[in-house]
């Protein structure tokens, strides 16, 4: 979540004070991403340093300063909105690592490990879905943020399902391979059951 660019986006609507930016940031993300006021002022200092935002009352207390976006800020915001995030490198996903490790350990039931995580994720999805039921608070920004979280968790559940299926198939095939190999050896050596 780029706080820097989100604040620029809010400033592109018109000049604002720090506390106002914090409130509007939290509202625009449906309160899903909290932001402390210190982060807001640090980010505003950096935006000002980089020439992306400015304020007339430089000597005033930071809480009293009214910030506005500069032309460079407008251009930076437009560039950022259209620039795809870097998704080329897969993240170091702890859950993927756990399942890979579990699949190699002979004394661990990998399907049980998968189910523990599947259940936890579905429970988490139930919690997010409950938020959708409360339609009073369900404004557009909140709906988009909750959907994003549900789709992210859903993708993890789907990966677990795929891993479960792939592991079962691969174990079945290796069992079949061993049985066929034993039959071949028996035939070759003339051994009987």
């Amino acid at each position: 979540m780029s706080v820097r660019h989100s604040l620029l986006a809010l400033l592109s609507e018109g000049p604002k004070y720090g506390f106002q930016l914090r409130q509007e940031f939290e509202a625009s993300t449906g309160d899903v991403w909290p932001l402390n006021v210190g982060q807001v002022y640090t980010t505003l200092d950096r935006l000002e340093r980089d020439g992306l935002a400015e304020s007339d009352d430089i000597d005033a207390d930071e809480r009293q300063r009214n910030f506005r976006i500069t032309q460079n800020g407008v251009e930076e915001l437009a560039r950022w909105l259209r620039m795809p995030p870097d998704l080329t490198q897969p993240p170091r996903d702890e859950l993927v690592i756990k399942i890979l490790v579990a699949s190699r350990l002979p004394d661990v039931d990998v399907y049980d490990v998968i189910q523990v995580h599947r259940r936890y994720l579905v429970q988490l999805m139930q919690q997010w879905t409950r938020l959708k039921e409360d339609e009073v608070r369900f404004d557009l920004a909140f709906a988009l943020a909750v959907d994003a979280e549900l789709f992210r968790l859903d993708a993890v559940v789907r990966w677990l399902d795929a891993a479960d299926g792939r592991l079962r198939r691969s174990r079945q095939e290796s069992t079949t391979d061993i049985t066929e190999e034993v039959t071949r050896i028996r035939r070759r050596t003339g051994a009987h059951r």
Binding site: P34, V122, W128, D154, R158
Partner: protein, 244 residues
């Protein structure tokens, strides 16, 4: 008392070498007003469980109690009456009759049950109205969008005094926004006291349920515990507990 109760239900297809255990010792209760989801991969027994819960098929062993009556041992006529009066079905491919309008599709089960045509139609209209479809009542299924057809199917499933709703991948063919609308309708039926059982492989759908039961190779292997309230997600001082 539960609206639906499966007691130690097993279902075996075939004999000898071709014998397949489709369901094994399933115990399941669905209370009035609650939504239970069954999740599992293809071939896990989800659809068999639903057809047995709906009395469309009998278990090999075990009991199926619907509104306190055991379906096992019930006469064919009694089962048919129970299905008409108590149970509503929603299928992935809607199963609407092409030659009937939306309202005729919805009121047909009532008419079959002996409700006079005028009264059945009024109840059908009211069910469609609740789902925001009264303006499409005179349209035929092929004149409706996928989302509208599924809403008609839900209206047909909950029309009259039906108190058990059984749904098989009810939003499988719909996009996520329409799929969510379908789950909201099922949930709203539950808030009116209907008991609902939904089978799906989709976690987004299952997450609307009060309880999710995981099926694997015909066995209920696990189920969700009651999750904490949603407010915890927005309480950023609280940490999410690890899986146990």
């Amino acid at each position: 008392m539960s609206m639906l109760e499966l007691r130690n239900v097993s279902k075996v297809y075939g004999e000898g070498a071709t014998e397949v255990d489709a369901l094994r010792n399933i115990d399941l209760e669905v209370d009035r007003g609650s939504l239970v989801a069954i999740m599992g991969p293809s071939g896990s027994g989800k659809s068999t469980l639903l057809t047995i819960a709906g009395s469309l098929e009998l278990p090999t062993t075990g009991d199926v109690m619907i509104d306190g009556s055991n379906v096992v041992g019930m006469s064919r006529n009694d089962k048919a009456r129970l299905r008409r009066r108590t149970i509503g079905y929603v299928f992935q491919d809607f199963n609407l009759l092409a030659g009937l309008t939306a309202v005729e599709n919805v009121s047909l089960p009532l008419e079959l049950d002996g409700v006079p045509m005028k009264k059945a139609r009024a109840q059908g209209m009211s069910a469609l109205d609740e789902l925001g479809l009264s303006h499409r009542a005179e349209r035929f299924p092929d004149e409706l969008s996928g989302g509208e057809r599924q809403r008609v199917a839900i209206a047909r499933a909950v029309v009259g005094e039906r108190s058990l709703l059984l749904a098989d991948e009810p939003s499988g063919a719909l996009d996520s926004v329409n799929g969510e609308a379908v789950m909201r309708m099922i949930l709203s039926a539950c808030h009116r006291g209907v008991a609902a059982l939904v089978v799906t492989h989709d976690a987004k759908l299952a997450s609307w349920a009060d309880r999710v039961v995981f099926l694997r190779d015909g066995k209920a292997v696990d189920e969700t515990l009651s999750p904490p309230g949603p407010e915890e997600l927005l309480d950023h001082d609280a940490t999410n507990p690890p899986a146990s």
